[in-house]
Symmetry: C2
Subunit: 328 residues, 2 copies
């Protein structure tokens, strides 16, 4: 991917100086699977860490068709006069090339040309854990480059929301009204993660269905909200197309961040995320060693097949593979 590497100093200077071309190259370095790139990437991260952590990290999710790109185009545009906004994505579907969010920058034509915005497509990786750990690191690079608002987009259909929830300060769920069963297509548990639900496309749907949806979600949040925090999740309506509601959403997020900074929950939550981050990093480094082992790569498919056919028990299969790994 990288034709010629820069020096560590060049990367560091470029990123902290806000040079977008070097930022992109640094991200490509971080995402590289080459051992040499990874070593250089680690050193670069070490140097950049003192410049990270100063952004508001916002997760945005919603099913396909809810209008995420239009929303981000509009929301990001509203933010940029006063802020530097980076847009990243965690896309569980990219690993199977079932189409990728943010794969096409033309979906956000305005924002991609905006000098205060930076859009980075989802990295491809063989597992969600890998994508997640890289997205976290890309987030750090963007922070070091001076972006003070990070938007992390994900598709609301899988495990990826839990992953995003674990790396952001605020979690926004986009929904649409009038789709019959209001929660249809929304994966279990996602509604309850939301710090705010925004019903998008309120320009398109008739206002009674929007109000109906709003009440249904408000009710669901009320029923399901049981966190020990002082924050009550909000339900608002908006339109990515017209820009309606964008400032309200930003006001909610600012209020949320301010409240939590005042009562210490903001820092406490980040510290908690960081502890998990360390253990997850350990876990993924251990697994990376295991699943990249040539012997394991060779033996695994047959054992998986045997398990699905009921010919091998999972405990036995795991033990066999671990024994193989220890020998190697």
């Amino acid at each position: 991917m990288i034709k010629s590497r820069l020096s560590l100093d060049e990367y560091e200077k470029g990123v902290t100086g806000g040079d977008r071309v070097i930022l992109s190259r640094a991200i490509t370095l971080i995402e590289s699977t080459l051992v040499k790139d990874q070593e250089l990437g680690s050193q670069l991260l070490d140097r950049l860490l003192p410049h990270t952590g100063n952004s508001v990290r916002i997760g945005i999710t919603g099913i396909p068709g809810v209008g995420k790109s239009t929303f981000i185009e509009s929301f990001g545009g509203m933010l940029t006069p006063d802020n530097k906004v980076a847009v990243l994505a965690i896309d569980p579907s990219s690993e199977k090339t079932r189409g990728s969010i943010l794969g096409d920058k033309t979906r956000m034509t305005e924002l991609s040309r905006n000098p205060n915005a930076y859009i980075r497509p989802s990295p491809t990786a063989t597992n969600l854990g890998g994508v997640a750990s890289r997205t976290r690191e890309v987030m750090l690079l963007c922070e070091a480059a001076g972006f003070n608002i990070i938007l992390i987009e994900t598709v609301g259909v899988g495990q990826s929301e839990t992953v995003v929830k674990g790396m952001v300060d605020f979690f926004l769920l986009l929904m649409i009204a009038g789709a019959g069963d209001e929660m249809q297509g929304i994966k279990k548990g996602i509604v309850e993660m939301a710090d705010t639900i925004a019903i998008n496309k309120d320009d398109a749907a008739d206002s009674s269905s929007v109000q109906q949806a709003r009440e249904a979600y408000q009710q669901a949040l009320h029923i399901l909200n049981s966190d020990n925090t002082t924050w009550t999740p909000k339900v608002v309506t908006c339109s990515g197309l017209t820009g309606g509601g964008m400032e309200d959403i930003w006001a909610i997020i600012q209020k949320y961040v301010q409240e939590r900074k005042n009562n210490g929950q903001f820092e406490a939550y980040r510290a908690e995320q960081h502890l998990k981050w360390m253990h997850e990093s350990i876990s993924s480094l251990l697994k990376a060693d295991f699943y990249s082992n040539p012997k394991i790569l060779k033996a695994l498919p047959k054992l998986e097949q045997a398990i699905q056919n009921g010919k091998k028990h999972p405990i036995q299969a795991a033990r066999e593979l671990i024994a193989l790994f220890r020998k190697g």
Copy 2:
């Protein structure tokens, strides 16, 4: 724990012969952390595996105070004339000795004296993953000993429900009516896992509040249910104290199992669970190696402290620990 080990043959014969004393000793063997016990336990499991898998595995959860033990006492008692019932527990609180479910068999006095029932308290372990993998193995031992219904109890306040959900065929959530906000105290996401919600203590609460609760849960399940299965979660009322509703719940479970066996979902779901089981086993074997390493044990607390104080970044801490581990 084990004063004198039996031979592999003695364990095998005892367990498959349904000898409860030997079953208990075999479980203690499986739960032992001694290397020698673990080796023998592995060999025993290998021998017993052909006799496993023939039970209906039922997860039961609910917040403290919902009446889980009284429910299980009653439900298990109703089942035992025709079935052999084993009751296990996954208790995330046991690791911190914050009190343990099933720690006291006297909570189920009738069932603990019932010749067709077997109650096993929650194992203690340093992590939920460890507890889970042992509970799975204990479940296999019980199946090999001829128990055809396995009830796995857990407290509905943490991560343990996801773990239980991943090892059972049917997931029952116990609730009570009239506690103000109907979902209060129920952790996010648990309601949506339920194949059936049973509102317990319908003898104690007034009937209008029971009906109100039932409708609220039915509504919540309707809103949140988005699985691709053909099953619609049921909401019923019952009383562990009087035994009311127990037969209805069992009829629902039997219908569920029958339907899913007919359409192939039962076996497909188990195969899916087994694949995850293998990868989880691999993961926990890898982590066990890591977190039991003396160097790691020594270095970890300081690094965790440094992360919480913001003095060390999680990525750096993880890398330091992995480097230490590889050296060892």
